[in-house]
């Protein structure tokens, strides 16, 4: 069954002469437990798709559903127990004057969930942190640790779907590897469905099973990430993206390799 479904999603801002349509008939379907990547350059509308699913825009047209339930333009609180989002910048997405404990407690308070102390303890362990981090402020954490807290905050409501908006692009390569491993482990253990936005084809082929390529608000191609890495993309824009990232990567293209 499809966990996330979008059918002919359209979104525009402004009216009259200032009308700016940012999404054009975007359709995609992500199976339960699948990890799906959205790639494209900035301004192509990939984050906008996530924001529609997260209820941050209300004027979209088309059909959206999560777990078979169609989304309304105003989302009920219960929606967010199933769908949570992790943002790009761990420096900007945590409140600077809230401790880790406060940040993790807030969703539990909002949704009226009990056993708060225990749940916070458990979720910290799950994302590879421990009790010693519990009463720290964000400025006392490294970038990778902050992103772990952001992931913990998303997971504490035990959602089925995680919307990931470039979760590693602000991190160093070495830390990126840790977070990507963590995301892969969590998905396997918690049977999560991921919809991830990124511009890094290496990251997307690593973490995702299928990929949609967006350009100017349209999906121009959908394919398996295996096909993407074997250079089987057919659309000119996808091929350009693949070429561009190949130019900068190892991949046995160099006679010196080996």
């Amino acid at each position: 069954m499809a966990m996330i479904q979008a059918h002919q999603l359209n979104l525009s801002f402004g009216t009259g002469a200032g009308l700016n349509q940012v999404l054009h008939d975007v359709s995609l379907s992500v199976a339960d437990g699948e990890s799906f990547g959205l790639v494209g350059e900035s301004g192509s509308g990939k984050t906008t798709v996530l924001r529609c699913l997260a209820g941050q825009y209300r004027q979209w047209r088309g059909e959206l559903s999560i777990g078979g339930v169609a989304l309304q333009h105003t989302l009920p609180k219960s929606h967010f127990r199933h769908v949570q989002m992790v943002f790009q910048d761990p420096y900007g997405s945590l409140h600077p004057r809230h401790t880790v404990d406060t940040a993790l407690r807030e969703p539990l308070v909002i949704h009226g969930i009990d056993d708060r102390d225990e749940r916070i303890h458990d979720i910290l362990l799950k994302v590879g942190l421990n009790e010693t981090f519990r009463y720290r402020y964000p400025h006392q954490l490294s970038g990778g640790q902050r992103q772990r807290v952001a992931i913990a905050r998303a997971l504490i409501l035990q959602p089925r779907v995680l919307l990931l908006d470039e979760p590693t692009s602000a991190l160093d390569v070495s830390v990126q590897a840790e977070i990507l491993n963590l995301l892969a482990d969590l998905r396997r253990r918690e049977k999560l469905t991921y919809l991830m936005v990124t511009h890094d084809l290496g990251v997307v082929t690593h973490l995702c099973d299928r990929v949609a390529v967006m350009q100017q608000g349209r999906i121009v191609e959908q394919l398996d990430s295996q096909a993407l890495s074997q250079n089987l993309a057919t659309h000119a824009y996808t091929r350009m993206l693949v070429q561009a990232s190949r130019d900068f990567s190892d991949d046995s293209q160099h006679p010196l390799a080996g």
Binding site: E41, G143, N181, H199, L201, H206, A244, D247, S249, D250
Partner: protein
């Protein structure tokens, strides 16, 4: 050799903040000729600090010491502010990471570039304007006349970065320090910007110091690579030999990169060895 533009030997940078003392750069030595030299490392490894030291752009809390830091016969270490002002921007210039924060938001971009030119050359406004238009064309901006009159918020990230490059190159410097010039840009735009920079480096025979955290990019773009860890240069090698890197840190970084051609179940995570801090 006359080809050597910059010579740095045993550079150390300390930051002193009250009782807190940070040794940010430790014993860094390198030379720069007419080449593209990359400095790579994680955040906090001191790579940007090295770049800034060359222009002495640090706050007063920084203590710089070195055996030698010479640029074309000028001892940068002891040079007065007067001398430094002649070096900065005119002979060694610096391209910053993010055009959004580095351009003045309330001045037209063309005028900002002209300002950089006029600060170092005696010329009329009209002449400056012509040079700017010429420079904008050189960095592959299609409609220089129109772009001249735009404000920074009206240009895209890639265009903003090319404008920054134009501003830094218009004085015909001998050395350019580029501090992560493309990390805020998309893959497709990144190539354009790198292409522009490369063209200029070749045409004007400049030396380029390219500060980056992106090993893949550096490997294909630069000639030589310095790998920094915790303020030290742990390895220095030709970019094409990066595959044969010997230091476990460099190897660890390379292995941790997710790559399209080589899908792995798990990415190897860097195991840090405390020995790297001392040897």
């Amino acid at each position: 050799m006359s080809d050597i533009k910059l010579n740095v030997e045993g550079l150390n940078v300390h930051f002193v903040n009250g009782h807190r003392h940070t040794h940010a750069v430790r014993d860094v030595s390198f030379t720069l000729g007419r080449e593209k030299l990359a400095i790579v490392g994680e955040s906090g490894s001191g790579k940007s600090t090295v770049g800034r030291s060359l222009l002495k752009l640090h706050p007063p809390s920084a203590r710089l010491c070195a055996k030698a830091m010479r640029f074309d016969g000028i001892d940068l270490l002891t040079a007065s502010e007067n001398v430094m002002r002649k070096v900065r921007g005119q002979r060694i210039s610096m391209v910053m990471q993010d055009p959004k924060y580095s351009l003045n938001p309330v001045v037209k971009v063309g005028e900002q570039i002209a300002e950089a030119f006029l600060a170092h050359h005696k010329a009329s406004r009209r002449e400056a304007r012509e040079r700017v238009l010429e420079m904008l064309a050189k960095v592959h901006i299609r409609d220089p006349q129109r772009v001249y009159n735009l404000y920074p918020h009206e240009v895209s990230g890639g265009m903003g970065q090319r404008i920054m490059i134009a501003m830094m190159v218009i004085t015909r410097p001998e050395v350019i320090i580029a501090d992560e010039p493309t990390s805020a840009l998309d893959v497709s735009v990144r190539q354009q910007v790198l292409g522009v920079l490369e063209e200029l480096v070749e045409q004007q025979q400049m030396g380029l110091i390219f500060v980056s955290h992106d090993l893949n990019l550096v490997r294909n773009y630069c000639d030589r690579v310095l790998v920094m860890y915790a303020g030290r240069v742990v390895e220095s090698l030709a970019a094409c030999d990066l595959h044969h890197a010997e230091h476990p840190y460099t190897r660890g970084l390379l292995a941790a990169l997710p790559s399209m051609g080589n899908r792995r179940e798990r990415l190897p995570v860097l195991q840090r060895d405390p020995l790297w801090l001392t040897c």
